[in-house]
Amino acid sequence: MTSKIYEMIRLLSVAVFMILIAGAGDAQSEQPWPSFQGPHGSGATTEKIPRSLSEENIVWEKELPGRGLSTPVIHSNKVFLTCSSGPEQNRLRVLCLDAIDGQLLWERQFWATGRTVCHEKTSVAAPTPCTDGRRIYAIFSSNDLVCLDFEGNLIWLRGITADYPNVSNSLGMSSSLVVTNGVVVAQVENDSESYVIGIDATTGMNVWKIGREKAANWTSPLILNPGVVELQSKSGIDAINVSDGNVLWQYDAGASTIPSSCRMGNILFVPSKGLTALAYDPKGQKRPEQLWQSSRLSPGTPSPVVNGETVFTISRGDVLTAGNIESGDRRWQLRLKGPFSATPVVSGNTLLAVSETGFVQSIHFDDEQGEVTGSLNLEDQVLASPAAASGGIFLRSNSRLWKLADVNQ
């Protein structure tokens, strides 16, 4: 083949590839689970959570090639998952599985370019990836950030610790990613060098970079509205415009550095002085109004979730508390079998919580009370929060991924 013909074919390949990239973002009829707290930042799903649980609810389970605490991300019936393996967890893995049958569709591996030291309970694959429906964006505790399309083609790479050598946390980093309006927001905050970086989703280049307080922070950003992202830290909350990184409003009464905020409509539920509800302006042009503050709704490690008129928290003492989102009044409490690291998922009048020992509990509730109606022991340590899409609930441990579903539907 002559070089000229080859060059023509090469250009055609590139052109077709660019067309496919441009057209790959068709809306899906199924609701995805695109990031840590689901499609609306609430931890709520329209997927049905089984009220009773048994091994029959396990649609499939899959052995994983590495450790991880990240939540699976689901889109277009594909499950995207990160793992880390090797003696020092230096091998970073991004897996894509068929959400229907659990078949591995592809895997890409990378070498960690940043430090992989972390507490033995966590792992290098702690932060949850995100997707905009066209590409998957995955970050690891080593601050390696990769962008792949849904077929596993590498779009771009970043080594954030290579860029900024003191961005690391010796206990491990865990802030998950969000993507909105074509900007990936990476919150990389620690004691020695802290930033929030807005990264062009197409090229992987910085759009902006904000210097942040030098303080360890394991919370994740949250999309408030398209183009507006909330950042939580020990100082409080900053809402930023992702086009330029400018701060739109602040809440400066402090906040937790472990559980993250969640939202319902234009109300933000912040782990601050227990739990604080803030009504915010969708355009970010006014300071938020504090609706209530409740020490009775103080979350432990799991983040709060909200559905309908009720916000839920799991305390350090493993007590699930339901609160009225308008008043903050406690509706009911229920002691669960813990301890918990994973954030629960809620659907309709059922909430699913999984303990660190892999004990899955299904809680049916109304305004007056909650009751454990089903349980299932996965007999494995589960620290990762569940995801819900493609007809099921997805749970992962350091060694396995399960899909649970309501067998009666």
């Binding site: 083949m1 070089s3 080859y6 074919i9 090469r10 055609l12 390949s13 590139v14 077709v16 590839f17 067309i19 496919l20 057209g23 790959a24 068709d26 090797g86 003696p87 592809w106 895997e107 890409r108 591996q109 990378f110 070498w111 370019t113 430090r115 030291v117 972390c118 507490h119 390696d144 990769v146 596993g152 083609n153 590498l154 779009i155 771009w156 790479l157 970043r158 080594g159 290579a162 860029d163 050598p165 003191n166 946390n169 010796s170 206990l171 620690n190 004691d191 020695s192 990264i199 062009d200 090229t203 992987g204 280049m205 910085n206 030098k214 360890a216």
Partner: protein, 392 residues
């Protein structure tokens, strides 16, 4: 959806027909693009296109593509390895002979060679198993790890026999991974072997320490105290609570732990909101490339021959051997190492620790021992230096 499938078919067809047989100069051009990526996403846009073409190559190109990792940045290595992953996932048959030749050449990048071995392992596990047997001293940390792991498992199967002891001794001399060394050492010590772990890893055990200086509010981290300007072992400085002088401090800890709370004992749980310095010299007959590997859970700075190598302002988040791996060039003759070690004001039990462990090694973790290295101290010898003044 139908039109997307059509385009996808065209893409696959053109890619397989065209780019799969890419001329060498085109492949080289694309690999150059992947090698050129830099910090903050520099070169990403061009790399995205180049990656597609490299990933579309035939399996026969894999050794060439792997060799392009040699001498290039970790970031570009990730671009290139992802392309190899993509090629390998499309082809059932890989050029195993060529991969084995690539693997045998230790001049190639250790990570690329490891990937070559994993491809062989995936397609021909028995062949990979035979290869790994001879990789005890391999420059690839991962290949070496698996070769040693095989020996450890064999020794476990023959536990208690003279053959098992010999296997463990052979494994120890090659082992660089801390968890493997701990496991082997534990087994050998049970049968009476004496193992000098400080020497095995290259930990530095002999230091001069001075302090405390003030670190109220964490401000001592940036404050320049006299040892940062020049080190005079005979000098006396104004410290936080009065005059301070250099102490000699030896550690007998097998993993070279230097406990500043023992070097500068304080009341109760030890000193708080303080700074100390540790200094030592190491002599080499020729210039050489090395790594300083440091474990420390307190804020620290390190200078080598008067130049700041790295600094980190983090307290009590965690510590492990080789936590920080800092490449450097050592000069011929005497080299001076100065550490600044800060302790903050936290009062919880787990914030009492004020310590570090530092070793010199090459990229595989093999110890680099100075010609003037002091023999590993005995426990009594080390304890005699705890908290004692060198000279008035």
């Amino acid at each position: 959806m139908r039109s997307r499938s059509f385009f996808r078919c065209i893409l696959v067809y053109t890619v397989l027909l065209g780019a799969g047989n890419a001329p060498a100069e085109t492949l080289n051009m694309n690999l150059n693009t992947l090698q050129s990526v830099g910090k903050e996403g520099f070169g990403n846009s061009a790399a995205t296109v180049a990656w597609q073409e490299v990933a579309a190559c035939n399996a026969g190109s894999i050794p060439t593509i792997l060799s392009s990792i040699d001498g290039n940045s970790p970031l570009s290595a990730n671009w290139i390895r992802a392309a190899v992953d993509a090629i390998a996932s499309r082809h059932k048959t890989l050029p195993l002979n060529d991969l084995e030749v690539f693997l045998a050449d230790v001049q190639h990048d250790p990570r690329a060679r490891r990937l070559a071995w994993e491809l062989i392992q995936d397609r021909a596990p028995n062949r990979a198993e035979k290869i790994i047997r001879g990789m005890l001293d391999d420059p690839s940390v991962e290949l070496r790890y698996d070769a040693i792991d095989r020996l450890i498992r064999k020794a476990d199967r023959e536990k208690g026999s003279p053959a098992a002891t010999e296997l463990l001794r052979e494994a120890l001399s090659a082992a660089r991974d801390v968890s493997q060394v701990k496991k082997i050492t534990s087994d050998l010590q049970k049968i009476g072997d004496k193992i000098d772990l400080q020497q095995h890893f290259g930990f530095l055990s002999s230091w001069y320490v001075v302090g405390p200086f003030d670190n109220s509010g964490g401000h001592g981290f940036t404050k320049v105290y006299p040892p940062e300007q020049s080190v005079d072992i005979q000098a006396t400085y104004d410290g936080k609570d009065g005059p301070v002088s250099w102490h000699q401090f030896l550690t007998a800890d097998p993993y070279g732990m230097v406990d500043i709370n023992k070097a500068i004992p304080g009341p109760g749980d030890g000193l708080k909101e303080v700074v100390a310095y540790a200094f030592t010299t190491i002599t080499f007959p020729a210039e050489q490339v090395a790594e300083v590997r440091l474990g420390c859970k307190n804020a620290w700075k390190i200078w080598v021959n008067g130049s700041l190598l790295f600094e980190r302002d983090e307290y009590h988040r965690g510590m492990r051997i080789d936590q920080y791996q800092l490449p450097l060039k050592l000069k011929k003759g005497s080299n001076a190492l100065l550490l600044k070690l800060c302790q903050d004001g936290q009062t919880k039990d787990w914030t009492k620790q004020w310590q570090f462990q530092l070793r010199l090694c090459d990229a595989t973790g093999t110890a680099i021992l100075a010609v003037d290295r002091r023999q590993t101290p005995l426990q009594e010898e080390a304890e005699a230096t705890h908290g004692e003044l060198l000279a008035p």
